[in-house]
Symmetry: C2
Subunit: 347 residues, 2 copies
């Protein structure tokens, strides 16, 4: 018998829908390979919810419906206009909250409220949204711990690039001494274009925007804040910290000039935006800054929108992992992986 897990999916944008698509596409495979039967109990979006009756919602059908222009609260007989996640959590019997609402780095809402309600009601959490975790890591983890609730956030720490898995599982028993990551695809794309073509930051940014790689307001990426948020979550998890992101020295890439690039190349280096963390005698040192990496550094060849992370350890040497889709499907696949780990491995 497969293990049934009832899911409440909050947020039905690109990542939420990609997750529902994966549930549909992988149903047979999850059952056969992992003995796992996820059941979509409810989907919540801005205008309301769709709530299953006896069978669970058909994840493919609700996704088709919304992608054809419908809204969640009008889905077949299951739509409940105006119903919120806060209403649902606690009233609908479920095991796991999958949180994919848009990240809000001011107050973490609405995801923060969803997190707290899930913890209160003893639902485990799988999050793509990094807002509440970045803003309020210690309190959320403490509450979750008291309630025996697990929280997983692979999708918030570089999507399909298995940053935390490599740091937690692949290096189990080794001591991580330093972490360096290229954690943001947009800035790596801009720096790669500048390095290859000698162009100005503004020109590379404009191209990235035209290609949809950078947003119209690129601040979060180019000022290094997205990289900071990811390295903070990674360092918190692996070093047992509870950093205030505002205290992490963060320099973005807006000041990198073609002359800097040329000087780096001349010296055999390449400039990358690096989020780094290391434990020193004076405590943890976590920062974000453009750094000149030597050509043989394992992250030096990570180009364009690719990401990568490198762990220096006491007994295993340096282990580096690169790649992984940054797309909604990549993020959804990371959440599906979290689901398998959580349910089947307890990790």
């Amino acid at each position: 018998m497969a293990i049934e897990k009832k899911i409440i999916l909050c947020g039905f944008g690109n990542v939420g829908r990609a997750f529902a698509r994966l549930l549909a596409a992988k149903e047979e495979d999850l059952n056969a390979r992992f003995g796992l039967a996820p059941r979509l109990e409810a989907v919540v979006d801005i205008g309301g919810a769709a709530v299953a009756e006896e069978q669970g919602l058909a994840p493919g059908r609700i996704t088709d419906f919304v992608e054809a222009g419908g809204t969640v609260e009008k889905f077949e007989s299951f739509g409940r206009p105006g119903l919120t996640a806060a209403d649902l959590l606690g009233r609908v019997d479920a095991d796991i909250l999958v949180e994919t609402t848009p990240t809000n780095l001011k107050d973490g809402e609405p995801a923060r409220t969803h997190f707290m309600a899930a913890i209160e009601n003893k639902l485990d959490i799988i999050a793509a949204n990094k807002g509440p975790l970045v803003l309020d890591y210690r309190r959320i983890l403490e509450r979750a711990c008291r309630q025996g609730v697990q929280i997983r956030f692979s999708a918030a720490t570089a999507a399909a690039l298995p940053t935390l898995d490599v740091g937690r599982l692949c290096t189990a028993g080794a001591r991580i001494e330093a972490i360096e990551g290229i954690l943001n695809g947009t800035t790596n794309y801009i720096l790669s274009r500048m390095a290859r073509e000698g162009c100005a930051y503004e020109d590379a940014l404009r191209d990235a925007q035209a290609l949809g790689i950078a947003e119209t307001d690129p601040t979060l990426d180019v000022e290094g804040l997205d990289t900071r948020n990811k390295i903070v979550l990674i360092a918190n998890t692996l070093f047992g910290l509870a950093l205030d992101p505002c205290e992490v020295g963060t320099t973005g890439i807006t000041g990198v000039t073609p002359a800097d690039m040329a000087a780096a190349r001349e010296a055999g280096n390449v400039i990358k935006l690096i989020g780094s963390a290391r434990l020193t005698g004076n405590g943890p040192l976590v920062k974000v800054a453009p750094e000149a990496l030597p050509a043989d550094h394992p992250l030096a060849g990570v180009n364009l929108s690719e990401k990568g992370i490198s762990y220096d350890t006491d007994t295993m040497g340096r282990i580096t992992v690169t790649g992984g889709h940054s797309s909604p499907t990549g993020a959804a696949a990371a959440m599906l992986k979290d689901l398998i780990h959580l349910v089947k491995l307890g990790i």
Copy 2:
């Protein structure tokens, strides 16, 4: 209370001693972080065994003793000259066999006998030795399965490079469509030197031998057999196969010429010895051969003695992991990781 696991360590060469050293160095850490208390019940080497009485053997002390010129069977009051692993397994109460005897690719002995005795007596197995697994994978796995015995062999599939972890854990829920690996440090060193310096294979081999990177008889490495054995174990594990290694098309690097290297460079490529596996409509295609990788291939920058492996997946894109010590300590750290996974995660 920490979980106590009684270990029989077979083979006390470089890797076995490095494992004992790690048990000593990591004792406190294993207890604090993983609630795990490994206990060294016996060590077996060529001339006999050392068998614990009430407390377990002190792993640091027996390693010091042997590194100062002693032999296992003469260790303090615990030495038992002539006692073999086959004698011990089943007579000494233990949970896990750690197998680090030298790999024998003719008949797998003595490790094959140790494996079978461990399975018979329901000890889980953590192996650095790939002989029995390469030669007799299906039979060993079937017997282990019938007995409820787990077998882990990270150290046999590229030491501290987490080849199997990334393929099993980091990509859980995704379908692996293709695997490509640089799995042998010696051949990668030789090819890297040839690529950089334009030198002949024989000259690069001689340098590698002078540096202790290649063995006096380099056949296993340079003919691609070590790479073959590793890709066979990886493909067997991840694709559920039971390949006969003799049927894997294997070309080594002895025929690679400076002219090949120059032609590859001219085309913007770099030649690497690649072990690859993919599932095709006609079944699995597993092979070992020198391949010209484009400069932006994620394994193209893996140079000198470094190794790496790249997984192409359906939902996560391509994920590549590189690095990890190839030393005895790296192999021992991989076995310690297997121990933690096995005992604490059941994976």
